[in-house]
Each structure stands twice: as structure tokens, then as C-alpha cells.
Amino acid sequence: MSTVTAPADTTKAPAKKSGGFTAAASNYLDERTSISAAVKEFGRKIFPDHWSFLLGEVALYSFIIILLSGTFLTFFFQASMAEVHYEGSYIPLKGVEMSAAMASTLDLSFDIRGGLLMRQVHHWAALLFVASIGLHMLRIFFTGAFRKPRELNWVIGFVLFILAMAEGFTGYSLPDDLLSGNGLRIIDGMVKGIPLIGTWTSYLLFGGEFPGTEIVGRLYSLHILLLPAMVLAFIALHLLFVVVHKHTQYAGPGHTQQNVVGYPVLPVYAAKAGGFFFIVFGVVMLIASLFTINPIWNYGPYDPSPVSAGTQPDWYIGFADGGLRLAPSNLDLVLFNHTFSFGILLPLAVIGLFIVAVMLYPFLEAWITGDKREHHILDRPRNAATRTAIGAAGVTFYAVLWAAASSDIIATHFHVTMEGVIHTLQALLFLGPIIAYFVTKRICIGLQKKDREIALHGYESGRIVRLPGGEYIEVHEPVSDYERWKLVSHEEYKPLMIRPNSRGKITAGQKVRAGLSRWFFEDRISPVSRTEIESSHGEHH
């Protein structure tokens, strides 16, 4: 592990005074655990301070909240589809037959003090968990934090995102209410559409014909045992790599690729990060006490016949549901006595390719640049214009799929036709990313030009002055060296020139790479050089 140099001029932590309970206890522990080494190693570890570096923490804390509230829920929930008669407090369901899962969820909500609160904390925190992972990933992407040496940690984070969605979906299905039952029915229909193995996969999954009496218990095992264990393991790995790599930092005066500048774990970071856990928990608690989430008593027990208008999955599955909604009609193809259900396979393939592209992006960019150096200083999104534009296109693509999942609600709330919404979104699924790409790229390059202007000539002050010769000029406020450094210290790449390899051949791979490289780096603005600054100073003085 790395050695830690003492922060610039921090007073030394006071040496442990002899005697006292703390000293005795510390000594007892250390003699048995060697914990002093860990304190020495990590106690003063530096973490840079920026709001966007806390987004991953939000995800971590949401997960802890989910674990705490979820454990409470397990004490009351019965993961069984055995039929019971509900005899609890909710009058419109009294006497109704339902599974023990649904009945116990209702009892938990209506007959256990604080039970509804914990259910709502759990569900709201789950929404926050996946949302914060999404925002965290966007931050990593747009600042280029996935570059070497962090590519594998990006993949680990990506796996966590998928696991979080799986956790969410399995949890959503547990109460066995009408909404989640219809969600499972959709899953069943999608699984059956998979060639070759679909029919049997569904049969095994549900333990017989849909809905069967097994699925809730099986999803429960996944939801409370396998998936959380995997999430924990991957979080541990994710954080281990954060320690190994040390945190990235934004460009700033004094910041280099070889240092990390920020606050030590003890005490400042511990106070802020520890306090932040309680703040996140408090925000979730506040929401849970003021806003209803998933009122299963409205939906009633699952029955294959009823369905509610506005049947949607939780937000993070929305993009997949939207993909299904946007597929064209009548795509089934019967070939060789088998049905190819392209109405399902097509959206699955599109979504699958999209998420695989997200996972592999760091490797693609590394291949194009060929840059094998470690990158610890983050890019400003504008300075990696093509990457930022690709990101914007991806976000647009996802957003269109996501919007499609609420096409019916968009139609009623904006007084437009459902068909119009769906046709528009179908067109936007292809046009939106293209438009977003070009608009974003232009904006980035425009901002780069502006940065260049500011670095060379200072800020526009808005003050117009007439020179003795009659000429009008706008006075520019000079920019300090510290501020300028943020504007000029970014990387620059050039398009790759194709060169024959050692055997005098130009491989197809190289051609592709050169093409991509041109696409990436053709439009670029070089960072301001020292000479330029000196000469611009000459002009002004």
C-alpha cells in the first residue's frame, strides 16, 4: 500500500497519553489485531473534496439504509404464496383470498407500528440507490474517470448497477400484488419469447405454469441472500480499488498526476462523510414519512384477470419497458415450425447492445487513444468533446426509452394522443441521439474556445473604453495564474496516422482505429501554450 506523507502543515496528532480507558482499550485491541497499522495507513489518507465525488457515497449509504430497513421487513414478511384470507385492518380487502406474502405485507403496513414507515423507507431508498448509481456513473463517464488504471473498476461499478436493478426488480415483485404480478407476467412473456430455451426457462423459473406458487419464495432468496451478498462483495471490491488507485481529482493549482489533494480521513472526512450518511438517511426518512410509495392495498392481490391503467415498473426498469413499447407491430416470424418473437427480441437486442456498449466504452476509448499512462486528473467534459457528445447521445437514447415507458401518462397529462407520443418517441430514439451528439459537440468546442479566450485575454468585463485614437475596446479583466491553470492544463490528442506494421501491411483493425481516432479528435482546440500566453501579455502591455 502507499505511504502517506503528512499533510503540508498539520499539527501532529497528539501522542496517546499514558493511562486512561481509551489507551488501555486501544492497547488491548492492537496487541491482538495490529490495528495501529491500519490507523497509520488510513487514518490520514487524503480524499479530495468535490460535490460530485459524493454521489457514489449516496449510493453506498442508500444501500446501507436498504439493508437496515430490509432486515426489519424480513421479520414480518412471509415469502409464501400459500393462500390465506386477509383479516387485517384494511377494510376493502377483508376476507379476500391472497397469498401470505401479500397478506403479511398488508399486516406489516397496517397493523405494525412503524411498519409502513420502514416499507416506505426501504422502497424510497431503493429508488434513490439506483438513481444515485446512475448519476455517479454519469459523473465518472463525463469526467473520464474510467481511464487507466480504473477501467476494471468501471466494469465493477457497471455490474453493481445491474445488480441494483436486479435487487430492485426482485423486491418489487415480492408483495405479490396486482402491479408486481403483472410485472412478473411481462417477464414471463419476455422469457417465453427467447428462442430455444424460453419456454422451459419460464417453466423452471415459475416452478410450473405462470404464476405458480413458487416464484415469490424464489425471488425472496435472490432478493435477501444471493443478490445482496453479491452487491456487498462488489462494493468491497469497488472500494478496495478506490483505495489502491487513490481518488481522482479535478485540475487545479498544485494538483498533479502524482499527488492527491484534499482532507484527511481523520477527522474532517470522517465528520463530513459520516454526517452525510445521516443526512441521506434523514432525507429518505423525511420522504418516507410524507409521501406514499407503492400503495399495494390499492392494487389488491395478484389475479391474472385485472390490470391497472398506468401499469409500469419502477423507474430503473422503465427503459426496458419503454423498449418493448416502441417495437413495431406484427414482428413474429414463424420459421421451421418455430416462432421467432422479434417484437420481444428486437428491443431486447437493442437494449442489450446499449448496456454492453456502456460497459465496454473505457476499453474502446483506450484502444483509440492508445494512451497507456495513468490518468488521475479528471477531464472537464468540454475538453473531451467527442466523449461528452457520445455521452449526451447515450443519455438521450436512454431518456427516450425511459419516456416511452410512461407514454400513456404523457398522453393523458399533456393532452396528446398515445399514438402520437409513441410515434414521436420511435423517431426520437434514432434522431434524438444524433441531434444530441452534434449539439453537445458544438457546445463543447464553443466552450473550449471561450476558455482559450479567457486564458489568453482574461474575462470580458463589460466595460467599454474609448482609446485616445478614437478606437473602442472592451476592457478584459486578467485571469490569475491559479484560475488560468484550470483552463489550460488539459490533455490533447491528435488523430492517428495509419502506418504500415512491421510486415509492411495496414491491417483492417488499424484502419478502423484510425477512422475512429479521426472522428474523436478531428475537431479539437489545443490548450493554450506558454508562448501564447507570453505573447498575449505582450499585446496587452
Partner: protein
């Protein structure tokens, strides 16, 4: 134009802001800037008001401990709320107050604790930034050489590379050992003669002479009950007698039907399906052919059926052909007739599998 193969070593020496760490790393197509602006180094430290003004410091201290006391008060409030706002049976207002007041107490406890700690960190704790130095992620040359050596020694001592029979049989054993676990999962679904999903999907419980009955009561429906413009949600009469343990939900998931009466003149019917309807009364499977949601929305003027899950639309006047949305096939029609007592009955089961497409469907 840039070319690969440049080395970053020289850069590292040139400017401290560059990469390299002295190890050889290709910079790829990155531009090696020889004329870069130098890093100006750390800006001077700016003290906070709490560093300069003891009064402000005192006030910050007061704020922090007040918040911590407030947090404790919130926790106590939550406990008190648990006792003061019990849930009374069948009284949802009491559930609401219970949820609200315990929640607000806990929220206060958590937020005050968190905000207090952060404020302490921001306003009162030492605020000089520290610096850690980074080291290349890769191990040092010696470490890496030693690692290679260890593997070589282990290979030598075990003969892993040399004794290929042992090695290959080991790999084979390792591949084979998880396979039984895969097989064990066959037990997830019932086995036996009739436990074949492909066969099960072909049929529903409808059979000739089954009365169409109201969902969920099981009251049979007379043709005369079905007036023009009305829609009935239908199950086989016998289904209502099934208990949940007898497969009620599984049978229902396939057998649900929507019954509508249209003006017979509006129905466009194929020759071979002419006698599947009765005087403008038609019955269609309610299970969407897309992914299986109940297609339950009937518009009595347009005669369109709409699935609320993915917006597939079916035209009831035209054998429920798909007219919009992702569904791929028309809804299967249940042939119906009227028995001696005037009740609607099925002529047979559906003549094709209901619900979503599957691989073995043809």
C-alpha cells in the same frame, strides 16, 4: 498526425503535472506538449471566519451542539410517537399519524445529527488540505520480477506445465464438477408425463359446452344479458369452483376471456369463423399476444381493445387484428354458442395457444 510508440518518460521529467512516474508508458496519440503552461502550485491559504473571529467560532460550536441535542430530541420524539400514536384496528387515520410522527421524529434525529457533524467538520475542524503522493498502480520492477519467479518456481516444483496429463485431467475435473449443480436445478419445475410446458401452453380449461361466467363470481351469462356496447369479463363457469391450490390462478391466467356485443353488421368475419360468434356477441382471449398482460380496455364506439401495459391495440370488428403497438398476432377467438337455457357456452377450447409467442409455437 500522431503516432503510437512515443514514450512518456521524457515528459515526466519535463513537467511535474505529467504522467509517467518514470515507468515506460506509451502515450498513444496524446500530444506531447513541450511548451505547456507551468503549474502555478498551491494558492495561498485563506482562513475562515471561524479561524479569525472567536465569536463566530463560539457560535459555530453552539450550532453544532444544539443540532446534536436536537437530534437526541428527535429520537426521543420518535419513541414517544410510537407510544402516543398507536395503530387502532381498522383505523387508517391512525396508521397515517403513526407513520407521519415516527417518521418526522426519526428524520429530525438523522438530519440534525448529520448536519451537525458536517458543520463541525466544515466550520471548526482544522481546514488545511493535505497531500498524498501517488505511486504507479503496477508493482515495482523487483516485485513483478519476484512474482514471475514465484510462479516459475511453483511450476517447476509442481510440474504443472510439464506433467500435462495431470494438468489436463485437473482442468477436466474442474469443468465437470459444477455440472451436477446445473442438473439439480431441473427440480425447479415439476417432472412427469404431463409436466411439459410446451403441451401445457397449447390448451386452456375451456371445452365444449362450458358456460361463460362472470369474473370473479362465476355467475353464468345469458346471451340476452349482453346488450350492445357492454363488455363482460369472463371465466369458465367451472373455474370459480377451483381452489387456489387446485391451480385456480394458473388456469385463470390462460382462460380469461372478454365478451362483447357489437352490431352484427359491424363485424367483419372470415367465412370459417362465421359461426364462432352469436348475434354480434364475440369472445376473445384477454391475454395479450405480446407479453401477456390482460387486454382489458374496450372502447365501445371504436370497438378497439387496448392493452394498458404496452399499448397494443386490437380491432374487435376484424378478428382482433393488431392495429397498433408491439403485439404480433391477433387475440385468439373463443368460438361460442348458446345452450338450451339461453346461456353462452364455448364450442370448444381456443384453437390456438393463447398469450405470448413462444419458441415451440407454430
Amino acid at each position: 498526425m500522431a503516432q503510437d510508440g512515443n514514450s512518456g518518460t521524457d515528459l515526466a521529467a519535463a513537467d511535474s503535472s505529467n504522467h509517467g512516474h518514470g515507468t515506460e508508458h506509451a502515450v498513444g496519440t496524446a500530444v506531447v506538449a513541450t511548451d505547456a503552461v507551468p503549474n502555478p502550485g498551491f494558492p495561498p491559504h485563506r482562513p475562515r471566519v471561524t479561524d479569525l473571529d472567536p465569536k463566530k467560532e463560539k457560535r459555530a460550536e453552539r450550532t453544532v451542539y444544539t443540532l446534536f441535542y436536537l437530534s437526541a430530541a428527535g429520537s426521543i420524539w420518535a419513541i414517544a410517537a410510537y407510544m402516543m400514536f398507536p395503530i387502532e384496528p381498522e383505523n387508517l387515520a391512525s396508521v397515517r399519524t403513526n407513520n407521519l410522527f415516527i417518521g418526522l421524529g426519526l428524520a429530525l434525529a438523522l438530519l440534525a445529527l448529520g448536519i451537525g457533524a458536517v458543520h463541525w467538520g466544515k466550520a471548526l475542524m482544522h481546514d488545511r488540505e493535505g497531500i498524498d503522493m501517488r505511486h504507479p498502480t503496477r508493482g515495482s520492477v523487483e516485485t513483478r520480477e519476484r512474482a514471475v519467479e514465484i510462479f516459475a518456481e511453483a511450476n517447476e516444483e509442481s510440474g504443472f506445465g510439464r506433467r500435462s496429463l495431470i494438468r489436463n485431467s485437473l482442468i477436466g475435473a474442474l469443468i465437470a464438477f459444477p455440472l451436477p449443480a446445473v442438473v439439480l436445478f431441473r427440480g425447479l419445475a415439476p417432472e412427469g408425463e404431463d409436466a411439459n410446458p410446451v403441451n401445457l401452453l397449447q390448451n386452456t380449461m375451456w371445452k365444449k359446452g362450458d358456460r361463460l361466467a362472470r369474473d370473479p363470481s362465476g355467475v353464468p351469462i345469458k346471451a340476452s344479458d349482453v346488450t350492445i356496447g357492454s363488455v363482460f369479463h369472463v371465466i369458465p363457469e367451472e373455474l370459480a369452483n377451483l381452489g387456489h391450490s387446485d391451480g385456480y390462478l394458473e388456469e385463470k391466467a390462460k382462460a380469461i376471456v372478454l365478451l362483447m356485443r357489437l352490431n352484427p353488421e359491424e363485424l367483419v368475419e372470415d367465412e370459417d369463423k362465421k359461426d364462432w360468434s352469436y348475434d354480434g356477441i364475440v369472445a376473445y382471449s384477454k391475454v395479450c399476444t405480446h407479453v401477456g398482460c390482460p387486454v382489458a380496455l374496450y372502447e365501445q364506439q371504436t370497438h378497439h381493445l387496448l392493452c394498458p401495459c404496452h399499448q397494443s391495440q386490437f380491432d374487435v370488428t376484424n378478428h382482433c387484428a393488431v392495429i397498433f403497438g408491439p403485439a404480433a398476432r391477433p387475440l385468439p377467438q373463443l368460438p361460442i354458442a348458446v345452450d338450451d337455457e339461453g346461456y353462452l357456452v364455448a364450442q370448444s377450447d381456443f384453437l390456438e395457444p393463447v398469450g405470448p409467442s413462444f419458441w415451440e409455437r407454430h
